[in-house]
Symmetry: D4
Subunit: 251 residues, 8 copies
């Protein structure tokens, strides 16, 4: 909290007036006072990409924000929920741009490399869950993680899942993605001894009620170590998985 | 439909008047006309026990109905949802009476023997599901079936279930009973190639919402051959399983 | 479990090394170890058609998978949830192809014949339920069953249903399909003495809440022998009905 | 509207001052102005009993109100949702008092006789629905109607209902009461050509969700002429049925 | 029940064989046996129009059915839920045809006249409820009733409703139609002393949840004499209102 | 209540007959009797603009009503839920017309000025909530209030909100608008000591269930002084805020 | 923000060291920095009573906290959700204590007097809503407001409400409390031109679903100026009403 | 996978017969084959306590299982959802036993020490959430974690939370526990840069619907890094937090 100390010292030394000090304290309270996360600066220092939620923003707005962030020193910018159409427009306005179609994610600037040893498994119950899974997987990869995709390993054919036991056992974090009955999270949760992030999807019809069935099922998982994010929230799962996978940096 | 033919022939032969015939047609329309199931008679002939729903009936009422049914030639009477307290009262009024405590089922008269070769597997996700499972199992046994109990084989420890693969593969019908996330039905449905009757239970707390979570999960099962009965409806599952297990008698 | 025995004997006889045996055990665990259903092989041996869920797959993907399955010896391939448009494309790529428009089912290869004596009744409450009913009926027919259609026999005109008492009484399995108040399953369940598979449909408006009303109604059926599948799940009902109708092959 | 005319005439004749007239107009606006139902007076004139909702009132309060109403010329007072315990207390304080135990209704004063020719049928799906049915039936009887009780005629045994076709066909109004799947209203609605008032009950368990299943089912009835009141609202159904049954008095 | 008597007499007299009699009994059970409503015949005799639910039927189907009914002696045919586009097609195929645009009702054949003295009030809370109201009003008119429309008299401006007190007080039946908070039914129920049929509409947004709010509100009405039909079910309300308004014909 | 007094005095003085007086009392009861709000007159006197709900009305209808209101002396007319397309049509028919695009509000006539000192803060959790916020803000401005917009100050970055503490502390009323988890209302409620009107929005996906999540969250706010309006009801919030902000005019 | 100025000035004047200043800034950030509400002090200065939520606290805890607050200069302490039993215990430990039984509110210390001219109307639909109403009314009174109680003025007898038009028209704020169909808020909202705080209650049965029906109804109110608090939240309504009623003190 | 290698080598060397090997492979498939988690052994080796779910088990059963586990070498056994009454019985049967009353957790055997450096913050919105928080905290402590409790820091008084910024910023994992509006998770999620496990509680009334409000709110959190467990599931949160806090052991 050196900035406050410095400021106060300047007052003590008569370099600035108390009135000026008060104004500064009011102007930038969160950067100095320690009661809020100075995310912007830390992220830029550490090279973690900034994320833009693409839905509801025009291609021009996205291009503008990306440009500014890259100009400010950000190495790469992730844009989620980006439609193919908008991606095409954005790609024209930014020199370095890559679009992940299934994940509906665009990346402006450099494609980040892997910076951790541990791997994240992204598993889905069916093939219809893949778009959500790719959102999670690409997010995790762009945040520096190695990702192991296990798609279409739903519990109605349990042997498909069992044949991947080793990958499941050796993961650092697992993202279990499923619609309909959402049982995948429980079965994986029972097989693994690492945190499992469950993502219910809106895949299904009738009594799936837009993902409610999978959501409730995952919340009631009888396996320990399972937690749940919002329906279809692949980005949130990928982000949290990366957070857990990078946790050794701390403490 | 011989009874109608006989009646009409009697009219033709002048044995009874048309007025009398009309009255008879009105008096017992369902036994004769074929548009309703003559359950009582067929059941007695075939020795299938009659069933009394015990909830909301007094011990005296239950004793009375059972007595009458036994006197009418019924060999055994099943009483479901029978509390221990009522069972004690009933047992005093009926000479042959057996109470299955966990299943909350009483049987008046003879305990029926097994009359089919095929077996019914009754599986539960946890130990708390056992009362519902016993209601299903004892119902099925009292209707003449061999029952194979696989309790506490929930999907969060998938190896428990896999170690019973052979029993599951060789069953004629399976009753899969689970609360919470209700995933058991899907996993068993994928392992078995016989009909699976799923019974959601009200076991759980919080977002299990009294069995809603397991119910929705089971309705959305991605395994073929799975159908669902009401929450905690062990009797219904046992009855339907027996129906399916006895199906070779027909056609 | 002769394959394992054979493998182990080969090791004992020095024909293969322990390392090689271990690898093989890991490579094909489900075919050999008995803890998973070898469905593919059994089905091909028995001539049961393979099923493709058409929704979310392109015409090209469907043509490709069908071709491969037929080339592998599969006699016929059922494709469900297949739109008319896709069906037209698929029909051009496969020599033998038939499309059931109302059922939205396509069949590649030979149309399977009937292989059981018992019949399945498919009944609907109204005319709007017919697409779901046809999905169930055609599924059952393609799996070798005789199907008896009783459409528009809803309970608000109970005489329509009663005039079909004989068909209902003589069925091996009944599929009762209804939207709105879903009462058909209960009334049929009371008339029949065979398993009744209830299919709620999303037909209706207002307080039908997309099929929820019929779903709850059917789950609460006071008739014994009734179980329920997901809203609009005609395929699931047809598949389960066929399973029950073929049950005498077992045990 | 003679009272207003009389008042205005008195003003015109100088019998009362305008100020006094204004006050009177403000004091009893609804009795005079015609924009609200003068229920109290009309009911007393016509001998229709006043109704007290007993729940949440003490025995003393009920006795007090009843006394006052009887003293004011009311011939009989109906008290609904009256527990047996309170009924005993009330019976001690009022000379003429009769308690209908199953209906949980008490009647202070004279038991009203029948004053219409048409009859009301009260039908229930099961025996557990009888308390709600009795609330409806006794309400209707106390309001002057002949009531025909058809209990335990649920649709899972459709012959029970059909054997009462004549009573159903000849009713003026029918109250159809059922819990669980609530199908009774639709079947009766299809058989009858008079208004059917459907009463869902909270009888059931699991997916009956406290009567929600029956409620939705009844609202979605495909039979014309069916309308619905609140879950367990026997009184409301009896009151409305009486209103319809007395309708010839009007216009 | 003369037809049965006649048939039996013919058998007694040797005019027809018992076999022939049996066949006839089976062929037309509901017309003769009295356990089902012979609606078709009675309606044609009484001149009550037949009703076709237009949704989900093609213009050709509607024209065809209408033609046939008119040819069979039916004087007029009501077609509900008929879009303007279909109506135009139908109008070309039927000589006498009238379309009520707001009500989305078409009438083939003669426009029925009024055959009762009592009137039905159709009231709405807002102007957006008018299409549902017109469906109710035109239905009632086509079934022979005089209809009094009170539109946009919602409770948030209670004076609008009060200014129509006389119409409300003098109605034989009232249909109260409202979306959003659905309070209209309760207020009218308190003002009127005739049956009130409440129709919740899907008008509203947000927490109206497609009419659920109005539906629950109406079911909980504290006014006596109020019952409820499905959301947006104008036809059902009009039909039931007509039934009640014609009730003096009976018993 | 001078009008009644006057009327009665006229009767007393023989200027009008009692019959005439009675008629007048019936003809305009709410203007005279004091039991209903004479909003039209008061509003015109006070210059408060009249409001038209634009949804479901044609451009022609809106133009017509606006014209009439302006001709009747109304200075300005607010039209809510007005699409851009309709606004264009309306603008052609009215000489003075301004359209607020994001708010989807049109104003015919003069743009009202500010008539209070206190200010209303309109805060949103995210940028997607801005359309609802603008509906609230423009409504409040058109009703004479100064509005302070604090957009995108969601609780997941609490420092954004804290940097506006002074504005929040000095507001007379605050409108807190948020979708998703809806926590903004609670945090602002805890910071402010003025009434907070919470507006849940339908912004979000998955388990936001169309605004239900934010709605429940806001209703359960543990901060005192918070109340809630319907999902997306910006107009209602703006209107109520203005009412509170003008409250010193009264009593 | 004089405290910060003073502190900084002391640093400038060398009275305290910068280190000491930094510590102080960290120790009491919210009292000084202006980004949080210093409620405690302001309340004590202004004599507004502190509030304790009694549920879940023991009588000893309540006595302890009350004692401390009174000792700290607080003139009166309001304790809500206080059962009669606990109140008796508390009354023994505090010299000045008054218990409002129906409201379930206790007041320790002085009973506050009225400090505003404007009045708050508290209206209920039925008598069962009175406990919630009293919680609101007593809360408002203890916060210095005059309260006008209008109980049992539900909309099913609209004349009861209309007879109180003057009170409703002259209120500064109105609290409308109702269970079941919750229509009271809309009708009052239409009659009044002041803010209406709607409180749904859990009074009712069946489809009232614990207050959900009234809650949705109130949220959908078509009257402007209505907002809603949580089910049964009388305290919240009383507190907010007082806030609005005291609003002239500000700005 | 040395055990399989060893076994196969024994067969190759003739030490055991192929039949014997096959039997062993079938007897302990999950310990050897790698497709299931050998939790028991690993846990005992690593000293991680075994967990017993106390609800639904008798004191005798709990004592029995604990005894056996301790005898098998387990150092400590955690028993969750253990009532005070049962705890007393259990404490008599086990020599070393400690009961955490608020957490409702018992520990048989040794109290485990801390084995990680990182700390887990357990924060609650209110005091009523403390039992759930203690379940989480004691679970985490018994699994070897240091726990930092921040209770009653709900968002309605945001300064309470801000004063703990440093603890929040320096945590390795945070468990955010709240009922009612559940906003705590979002605010903490925005302040912290570590994983946040959100636990909704059933604390609240009315529209909290047993924790549904907090659950939905938390699932919709707009802060990244937040995931959710079941309502009131303190144990699950503590277990998962410990898993994340120990994650550096892996990979």
């Amino acid at each position: 909290m050196t900035e406050i100390q410095e400021l106060l010292r300047s007052v003590a030394e008569g370099k600035i007036s108390p009135e000026q000090a008060e104004l500064e304290l009011k102007m930038k309270p969160f950067e100095d006072m320690g009661y809020a996360k100075p995310d912007l600066h830390r992220k830029i220092r550490q090279g973690i990409p900034e994320v833009i939620y693409g839905e509801g923003k025009t291609a021009d707005q996205i291009t503008g924000i990306s440009d500014k962030l890259l100009a400010d020193g950000q190495k790469s910018v992730i844009i989620t929920r980006l439609s193919g159409e908008k991606a095409e427009s954005v790609s024209k306005g930014i020199s370095k741009f890559k679009y992940f179609e299934t994940a509906r994610i665009g990346v402006a600037g450099e494609i980040p490399g892997t910076d951790t040893k541990g791997s994240i498994v992204v598993a889905t119950g069916g093939t219809s869950d893949i778009p959500v899974a790719e959102e999670a997987a690409v997010t995790a990869e762009m945040l520096g993680n190695r990702v192991n995709r296990l798609y279409d390993v739903g519990v109605a054919g349990i042997h498909r899942l069992l044949s991947h036991s080793e990958e499941i056992m050796s993961a650092n974090v697992i993202i279990a993605i499923a619609g309909m009955e959402g049982a995948l999270a429980s079965v994986i949760g029972g097989m693994a001894d690492c945190p499992v992030i469950a993502v219910p999807t809106s895949v299904g019809y009738g009594a799936s009620f837009g993902g409610l069935s999978a959501l409730l099922s995952m919340l009631n998982s009888c396996a320990s170590g399972v937690s749940v994010v919002n329906i279809d929230n692949g980005f949130g799962a990928g982000y949290l998985a990366s957070m857990i996978n990078h946790i050794e940096r701390k403490g």
